[in-house]
């Protein structure tokens, strides 16, 4: 088996995912194409050597549908011989693209693969791709489907995370994200998004709220209480009858933001790196995805992390830094509690609560954030991890060369 190496990672800044957001005017295929061009140009890449472009996408329909990986290749003027595809595992689609690229390299099927992800949530709203698990009464009834916000509130209730706990975490995310940007920690991996004539549209994450305080967070109303009253609370409690009620503690302030963005990573064998003069930045040690209860839905990160550690023959003490997508504050608090990880080893430069979660792109983005920070601190190992719709988790462990 070959080892799979990460040569480069690039991401767009994240624009507010609504009409009026800076990236709303850019089509998702163009967002992704700009990442592809960026990776090509700064690595002087002969694109004909890329053997697949695997694009993760959370709502692969409409202009994000029909193998956007291939569409982006064509839009970015990659060599005509480069195939492209699209994969979907909800929020971990991007990281799953990385893991699939790694598997193609490890199995000797490919030497060089571009793993990427994209989501224009302002143009293709979340939920656009429908789905039997949530909307076909046969299955939604059987699995006690509830929306993710209800599941996050269920986790907070079951584990006793208070509104104050979540808000305190959220404030840290805002502070850390702003500080990381101000200190230039992300500079090396951000490619500004430009318009047709090359004028930058966005060069910094747009959703960060630098004026956030505990007081301003405390004023926000629970985002999922009304939804809970529509039957979803009961739907969850029929499965979890041990709680008195679901305490609705998640708000727009302690949940991930809705944003637009894209990211990509070049993954290949050491040999192709040497041939092309690309320096491997990290080796992929292991990858894992797991399924968990679909109703509580967001408890996958711990089993996914443990499985990835197990496959790498490592334990959690061997990991220098963790990066877990901040889909909801309770997800991260639960992971920290279950894994006994202090906050100074996880999401050290903030995350999606402040900067946003462009579903299909996030996995690649936070992999980049993690690798940048390992390099900055000169640490060796990192574990990147996401909770996933449908009751899943996906994790990847990397080690610097």
């Amino acid at each position: 088996m070959h080892d799979a190496y990460i040569f480069d990672l690039l991401r767009t800044p994240r624009g507010k995912g609504r009409a009026g957001g800076a990236l709303h005017v850019v089509s998702p295929v163009e967002l992704l194409a700009q990442v592809l061009r960026g990776l090509r140009d700064r690595n002087n890449l002969d694109t004909s050597l890329v053997e697949d472009v695997i694009a993760g996408c959370g709502s692969p329909v409409g202009e994000q549908g029909s193998a956007i990986g291939r569409s982006a290749c064509l839009a970015a003027d990659y060599d005509i011989s480069v195939p492209g595809q699209q994969i979907h595992r909800f929020c971990s689609s991007g990281l799953e693209a990385v893991n699939l690229a790694a598997a193609k390299v490890q199995s000797s099927q490919c030497e060089l693969v571009l793993a990427c992800g994209v989501e224009s949530m302002s143009r293709i709203p979340i939920g656009s791709s429908g789905g039997a698990w949530s909307s076909d009464p046969s299955l939604a009834y059987k699995i006690h489907f509830v929306p993710q916000g209800i599941a996050a509130d269920l986790i907070a209730t079951m584990h006793g995370f208070s509104r104050q706990d979540l808000d305190a975490y959220a404030l840290q995310s805002q502070h850390r994200s702003a500080a990381a940007w101000d200190s230039g920690y992300f500079r090396g991996s951000i490619i500004p998004v430009v318009d047709t004539i090359g004028i930058p549209l966005l060069s910094r994450d747009e959703a960060i709220r630098t004026n956030t305080t505990l007081e301003s967070l405390a004023k926000l109303t629970p985002a999922f209480a009304a939804m809970g009253e529509m039957g979803f609370d009961t739907q969850a409690m029929l499965k979890y009858p041990e709680i008195d009620r679901i305490v609705h503690v998640h708000t727009a302030g302690n949940s991930s933001g809705i944003v637009d963005g894209a990211a990509g990573a070049l993954i290949g064998t050491r040999e192709i790196g040497e041939r092309l003069g690309m320096k491997p930045r990290a080796r992929i040690r292991s990858c894992a995805s797991v399924g968990t209860d679909p109703t509580m839905m967001l408890t996958g990160p711990t089993p996914a992390a443990n499985l990835a550690l197990n496959k790498a023959g490592m334990n959690k003490a061997d990991i220098d830094l963790f990066e877990l997508n901040e889909a909801f504050a309770a997800v991260v608090l639960l992971f920290m509690e279950e894994m006994d990880i202090p906050h100074d080893r996880i999401n050290v430069n903030g995350g999606a609560i402040a900067m946003g979660h462009p579903i299909g792109a996030t996995g690649v983005m936070i992999l980049g954030t993690l690798l940048d920070e390992l390099e900055r601190r000169d640490l060796a190992t990192g574990l990147v991890n996401l909770c996933v719709g449908g009751g899943m988790g996906t994790a990847t462990i990397i080690e610097r060369i």
């Binding site: 039997a132 039957g231 979803f232 029929l238």
Partner: protein
């Protein structure tokens, strides 16, 4: 040749048992539904069949230009024959037999709407269930303005779904959201409301009803349902390509879960019919989807339990009066005491009170045992002793049924009254059919075994009497089998 002659003779004076077929000189055929030996038209297997036969005759009758269907009785049609349907579960039919038995009516209605000639229906009186479904299968629906005419699909309240195309034609007329509301609630609406919703085309004084229907046929209209024309779309959309439909079904599924707590198979089956049936574009296949769900429900004890208790046993019983009888009062007291005792003893053993109360709620009880106890809920703190929800549920439900069985043994109340008194007296959930039907559905032997196991392994103190045990040796059922 022989066949053609026979057919020609038949068409001059076709003979049916449940309806009459008469062609006027102007070519309009009047089909009067008149089920013999009944004050109201109810759906019998013969009517199922003969409506289809009449549609075939109409199609082949060269002198006929179309038809008007009406009822020869004061009401239009009451719907299914509950005495027949209630037996289906006990008959233990195979899936194939249940499906085959569920097909004729819906097939006949499909033949009617595709016979190639315009069919109007004159709704002269209340049309429920299969009666409304017949009307929906006609191309033109005109209703009388008489007060006290009601239209509705009450099947879900019987543990069933509409089986004559109601779950398919109604959403195609009024949209999924409204159809779901009418089918899940079983709400009966007046013709004026039906006119607003587009379920009927016209309302006229009763004296003009047949004439209005006849005039429509004479106008030579297209004999085609909207859903059988190219490019037809369900009003408001269908299928998960439409995000709003996805949201609607998420919401409907959650509402059904919350209201029926996963105890009733019919409401979710209705949603499956609506979802899957409106996603397919072929009406024939949509109807098959409905038939499959309907057939499955006829093989489920919940439909038997609900029909037997809520309709057959209830018929002729003055519920309010019965609930005031000594036997019903005595039984209620004993059952509630037993229920509260199970709850408080579990709480005293350290099981979390919220878990006990929520499991009671999940089982369909209106109040938890601790809320009913004189101590109230607050007294119990619980130390989170782990307990399986299924065991808690069995303890709470079996305790009530065992107390009722003791009342039966002592001659305080008979099983049919006990079922009624438990449902109408304290809300023992209808999916069970009542305290005695709960035992009957499990089987007496299985019930005794369950009580013994709950007692020996979980200190439930549920001890069936020697009388009940000896009865179980002779007969596993409480009610005579209905096959």
């Amino acid at each position: 040749m022989q066949t053609q002659n026979t057919m020609a003779q038949f068409m001059n004076s076709p003979s049916f048992q449940t309806l009459t077929y008469q062609r006027s000189d102007n070519g309009v055929v009047f089909i009067a539904i008149d089920v013999k030996d009944n004050t109201a038209n109810i759906l019998t297997p013969q009517l199922h069949q003969e409506l289809g036969d009449a549609a075939k005759v109409l199609a082949a009758d060269e002198s006929a230009i179309g038809a008007v269907i009406y009822s020869a009785k004061p009401t239009f049609m009451a719907g299914g024959d509950l005495n027949r349907i209630v037996r289906y579960f006990d008959q233990q039919r195979t899936a194939e037999a249940a499906y085959a038995q569920s097909r004729p009516y819906t097939e006949s209605l499909r033949l009617l709407e595709t016979c190639g000639k315009p069919v109007a229906v004159a709704i002269n009186g209340t049309a429920l269930g299969g009666g409304l479904e017949l009307a929906l299968a006609c191309h033109y629906r005109v209703a009388s303005d008489e007060p006290k005419i009601w239209l509705g699909l009450p099947e879900v309240s019987l543990g069933l779904v509409p089986g004559g195309g109601g779950t398919q034609r109604l959403p195609r007329l009024v949209g999924i959201e409204l159809a779901a509301s009418l089918i899940l609630s079983g709400e009966r609406i007046a013709p004026a409301r039906a006119l607003e919703l587009g379920m009927v085309h016209r309302i006229v004084p009763s004296g003009e009803l047949l004439n209005a229907a006849e005039q429509w046929v004479l106008g030579g209209p297209q004999p085609t349902q909207p859903w059988d024309t190219n490019g037809f779309r369900v009003p408001g959309g269908s299928g998960l390509n439409d995000m709003n439909i996805g949201r609607l079904f998420q919401q409907l599924t959650a509402s059904v879960s919350a209201e029926y707590r996963h105890n009733y198979p019919a409401p979710i089956a209705a949603l499956k019919c609506l979802f899957n049936g409106t996603t397919v574009r072929s009406m024939d296949q949509a109807l098959e989807i409905e038939t499959r769900e309907f057939s499955a429900l006829t093989r489920n004890p919940v439909a038997r339990n609900m029909i037997r208790t809520l309709f057959l046993h209830r018929a002729g019983t003055e519920i309010d009066k019965m609930l005031c009888e000594d036997g019903a009062i005595e039984m209620k007291q004993r059952c509630q005491d037993a229920y509260i005792k199970q709850g408080t003893s579990m709480a005293a053993a350290g099981i979390r009170p919220a878990l006990i109360e929520n499991v009671a709620f999940s089982a369909g009880m209106p109040d938890g045992p601790l809320a009913l106890s004189s101590n109230g809920l607050d007294r119990y703190s619980g130390n989170d002793k782990h307990q399986n929800a299924g065991i808690i549920r069995n303890r709470l439900m079996c305790s009530q049924s065992l107390a009722a069985a003791e009342c039966w043994e002592e001659g305080i109340i008979d099983p049919a009254k006990a079922d009624l008194a438990s449902h109408f007296g304290w809300g023992f959930p209808s999916y069970t059919g009542g305290v005695m039907s709960y035992i009957d559905t499990l089987g007496l032997r299985a019930f005794i075994h369950l009580c013994d196991e709950l007692t020996s392994r979980h200190t439930a103190e549920l001890k069936p009497s020697a009388w009940l045990r000896s009865r179980a040796k002779q007969e596993d059922r409480i009610y005579a089998s209905l096959n």
